[in-house]
């Protein structure tokens, strides 16, 4: 662990060396570059994601924070003309190693998207889909239980328990997003990636999701991309600031927001640009 953590000083963000490993880094990205065709979207990002914490990525639009997030479960593979270089280690394994099966990786690293995207199926089938394709439930009763547990963890059970067979697309936006979170945790991932999960929701639904993120932190490692600095401050323990495809600064959330070390970070969090 310690050895794999030695980094090129050029790319080291302002962070005390080794502290991440001490806290138990779940994911370690090293010199990660992403190209979309000719466009160099992510430049040499080296960053640790700690286990059992919420890490938020902030930065202006087009800064590469979502791109980096999608590197962590290889969702970028589905985009034509996208190339990823560098290494991303999860529990000491390079997830871009050809030996790694991307399907199994994504079962370990769940994802929630900006716009709620429930499948046009029933609420029950939405949650049961993941366990079904991965064969997690031995019988119907187990599957039922998984669905109920996931909905409960996502704080949605009380609202939908009487209409498990109605379509998931019929729920409100906030409920749909919680359904998507329930769907993601149904396959019991280790990491949950959230790509601006609240940007399509109203303040009340947002508050519920934020509360949920805080509860989920106990069992899952969470990475969240957000445009709202208040949200980053509220839900995350660590914050990384991206700008123009580069990781500018990463540190404890409190430190980033009260005492940023980099001029750009300070400019962004005080609202001078972005």
């Amino acid at each position: 662990m310690e050895n794999s953590h030695v980094r090129d000083a050029m790319h080291t963000p302002t962070e005390t060396e080794g502290s991440a490993a001490a806290m138990g880094a779940k994911i370690q990205a090293q010199g990660t570059n992403v190209h979309y065709g000719d466009k160099h979207a992510l430049k040499d990002v080296t960053l640790d994601i700690r286990a059992g914490e919420v890490t938020s990525f902030i930065g202006p639009s087009g800064c590469g924070k979502s791109t980096f997030l999608r590197c962590l479960n290889r969702m970028n593979d589905t985009i034509d003309g996208c190339r990823v270089s560098g290494t991303v280690m999860m529990d000491g394994e390079d997830i871009y190693d050809p030996k790694i099966d991307v399907v199994q990786l994504r079962a370990r690293v769940g994802m929630v998207f900006q716009k709620p995207n429930p499948f046009p199926k029933s609420i029950y089938d939405n949650i049961a889909y993941g366990p079904r394709i991965h064969g997690l439930a031995a019988n119907k009763d187990e599957l039922d239980e998984m669905v109920v547990t996931s909905l409960e963890k996502a704080g949605l059970l009380a609202e939908v328990k009487d209409r498990m067979d109605s379509p998931g697309t019929g729920l409100s936006g906030g409920q749909q997003q919680r359904l998507c979170i329930a769907r993601a945790i149904a396959i019991n991932p280790e990491v949950i990636l959230m790509d601006e999960p609240c940007s399509a929701l109203d303040p009340i639904a947002t508050a519920k999701i934020e509360e949920l993120i805080d509860e989920l932190r106990e069992n899952y490692t969470i990475v969240i991309v957000t445009h709202s600095m208040q949200q980053a401050a509220r839900v995350s323990q660590r914050t990384a600031f991206f700008h123009l495809g580069e990781l500018i600064e990463v540190g404890d959330t409190e430190q980033i927001f009260t005492n940023p070390r980099h001029k750009l970070t300070q400019g962004y969090i005080t609202g001078r640009f972005g």
């Binding site: 199926k121 394709i133 697309t169 998507c180």
Partner: protein
Amino acid sequence: MPFSFLLLVLAGLAVISYRFGTARARAVAPGRQSQLHSRPMYHGLYAAMWCGVPALLIATLWVAFQPLLVKGLVMGGLPDAYQALPEARLNLVWNDIRNLAIGDVVRAQPAPEIQAAADTFHRLYAIGNSALALLCLVLAIAGASFALRRVSLTLRARNQVEKVITVFLIASSMVAILTTVGIVLSLLFESLRFFTKVPPLEFLFGLHWSPQTALRADQVGSSGSFGAVPLFTGTLLISLIAMCVAVPVGLMSAIYMSEYAHRKFRAIAKPMLEILAGIPTVVYGFFAALTVAPFIRRFGEGMGLSVASESALAAGLVMGVMIIPFVSSISDDVINAVPQAMRDGAYALGATKSETIRNVIVPAALPGIVGGVLLAVSRAIGETMIVVMAAGLAANLTFNPLDAVTTVTVQIVTLLTGDQEFDSAKTLAAFALGLVLFCVTLALNVFALHVVRKYREQYE
């Protein structure tokens, strides 16, 4: 003045009024065009409309009713001896008069009263045409000057022009609707005539089709029987075979094109696939009759089966190939319309590509795919040329795809081609068959559109 020349003159006048209209509008507000309610162009169009539209309407009505009027006047002027003739003979006389007047081939020596009537005919037409020309010109000029006089700062020329354009658009859309209504009505009335000769129940549920009727009373054994069930089963059989080919192939190719194929391959392959839809059906027809049918026959004989040289299988297979583009093109569009978010959602749960397609994309696209398939079915049912050439004419009541069968469309073709009298049950049967066909395809289309619309509501 010939009618075409009159139209040309009217168009010229309209252009001139347009010019005058714009010029006048500019003159009304020199240098301060923003004070005009409507831009000068609209004043020009307004004048052109007043110039052209009334004159054109009158001209159209005139041309439509002039022959009737002339006929009435000419025939009314004939001596009483002619007036007393029966309807059919009177029409012959009228033909003589007209031919004589136009200078067409006529009987050797026209009677003097016929000659006189022809002269009257000629004279009436000459008067009518001149009057029409004069009336049109007067109307055009009056309309234009009326419009030009009204040009002012406050004239709402734009609103008027837009209103006329709306009317024109409505009229255009009515053409298609009225044509449909007309076709339906003609089908309906002819079918009703048929059903007075053959009871509807016998037609819809009879098991024997042999539409040869006796032309003369003394002919034997040709009473004709109009049980259309063999035709329905034939149509059903061939459509079924066609769908068995088209649906899997079309759907699979659509899935490959939209999900797996590289963008460059898709850019070439999709238009090539759609070329299939551009091949004339008659070409498919002789492909089916000359290539596929003999092949199936040889193949079947090799396996010890007896295959008719014109078989439902050959027609169905080729028809299936023909409608592949319908299924694949619509399915491809629908699959592409499934939001990327659906795919992302499934991939993020660790679904493989094929799981994503089977469990998420196809179910989400299913209503649209079904819509496409139903459109293809109605196309298959209505298809004529391939079955005429490859499926044969024998109205066998069979579900064996190796037999010759016949379809509703083929029978309509054979009933109506050649010299036919249009009051026998034989020819009228074609209209009844057409009506059935129309009802079935209409129902399918309505259902398909409904399904497609339901799908659209889901995502937009």
